[in-house]
């Protein structure tokens, strides 16, 4: 009996300690964290590069190669936000597709310039597997893109670069430090 009571007390203590830890983690995340929305992400992203952000959305797709990347949307797929797994995130399981998630992370910028596109083109033209190179868009079946599709994507990016009048294109993503599935 005494042993049972000690066990219950210990369990409550451990549970409450874990709960406190969770609450503290939430609090740490809310401090100085910029709340972002999927639908306005592209317009606002450049103001918060390397800042802590929190964003909510529906998982459209997780990458099957190790689950280190996922894309979230909000109602429509016209705007996708790329989420990459940070050090503390083990993986994005495929069962997350369609789930509403809240992601805490750091906003990252990837710059694509003419040099990058030339190197990517050279990589794609190699006969070996090359799915790790280039920009991930989260489009249905993008991981199975063939050489032709990749070359089309490179050419389209070259056009975009030309139109932008700048020396680079910016692509934004969030490196997740933590995420929670919302019920």
């Amino acid at each position: 009996m005494t042993r049972n009571i000690i066990f219950i007390i210990l369990s409550i203590f451990i549970f409450s300690a874990c709960d406190q830890g969770m609450k503290k983690a939430e609090a740490d995340h809310s401090k100085d964290t910029v709340k972002m929305a999927v639908l306005t992400f592209e317009q606002k992203a450049d103001s918060f590069i390397n800042r802590a952000v929190v964003i909510e959305g529906t998982v459209l797709h997780t990458c099957k190669h190790g689950g280190k990347r996922m894309f979230i949307v909000d109602g429509t797929d016209s705007i996708r936000v790329e989420i990459t797994a940070g050090q503390d995130v083990t993986q994005f399981d495929e069962s997350l597709a369609g789930s509403r998630v809240r992601v805490f992370g750091i906003l990252k910028e990837e710059r694509i310039d003419a040099k990058y596109l030339n190197e990517w083109e050279a990589e794609v033209k190699k006969p070996e597997e090359n799915h790790n190179a280039g920009i991930h868009t989260g489009a249905k079946g993008h991981e199975d893109q063939g050489v032709r599709e990749k070359l089309d994507q490179i050419n389209s990016l070259r056009e975009d670069l030309k139109k932008s009048g700048k020396d680079h294109l910016s692509f934004y993503s969030i490196e997740a430090g933590k995420f929670i599935e919302l019920k």
């Binding site: 190790g66 429509t76 369609g98």
Partner: protein, 188 residues
């Protein structure tokens, strides 16, 4: 005499580490074969098996898929209880279910349903192999790797005589080292 004691220790170490490593070795070996073939494209996803069904559904009024439309489709498919969420895109709607999705082309009503089944055990093996658990498991898997090194080295000295490392064993060990080296030379 001293050499005899050393050999006894070597063999005991090899035996006990061998027993300890059986579980992890089988997990890594099975998962290794699966991941090898997944990377070469034999599996669409190593953790799930997927099947697809094609059918036709009615197009929503004005081509706009709302919740009522989504639920009417799911009702037809008897999948209402498995609804998770839906998103709309250019001329399509994708309905996410617990185990898959329904993709509807809103121009012609052509639909595809994916049914996903978890490959239990394999999924867990892959999770361990990829070290997607991290935390303490990182140390545990490092320990396993060190144990494999010890197992390999002690294995060299288990037997004495013509079948040992100075006889047949030397040839087999050399072949085991040469084979991966040959692959490197051939493919690099």
């Amino acid at each position: 005499m001293q050499r005899k004691t050393l050999r006894r220790w070597n063999n005991a170490l090899h035996r006990d580490i061998g027993y300890l490593c059986v579980g992890m070795t089988i997990i890594y070996a099975i998962s290794g074969i699966i991941l090898n073939h997944f990377k070469s494209g034999d599996f669409t996803h190593p953790d799930y098996s997927k099947s697809y069904r094609e059918f036709k559904v009615a197009i929503p009024p004005k081509g706009i898929a709302d919740k009522t439309y989504v639920f009417s489709v799911l009702d037809q498919l008897h999948e209402k209880d498995h609804f998770k969420s839906f998103i709309t895109g250019e001329n399509y709607v994708q309905i996410f279910l617990d185990k898959g999705y329904v993709y509807i082309d809103l121009k012609n009503g052509e639909a595809e349903m994916e049914i996903k089944t978890t490959r239990y055990v394999i999924k867990e093996f892959n999770l361990l192999h990829y070290n997607n658990i991290k935390k303490m498991y990182t140390w545990f898997s490092d320990l396993y790797a060190v144990a494999l090194i010890i197992l390999a080295i002690t294995g060299l000295f288990v037997l004495r005589g013509k079948n040992g490392i100075i006889g047949r064993g030397a040839w087999l060990t050399a072949i085991g080292i040469l084979l991966p080296a040959l692959f490197l030379l051939y493919y690099m």
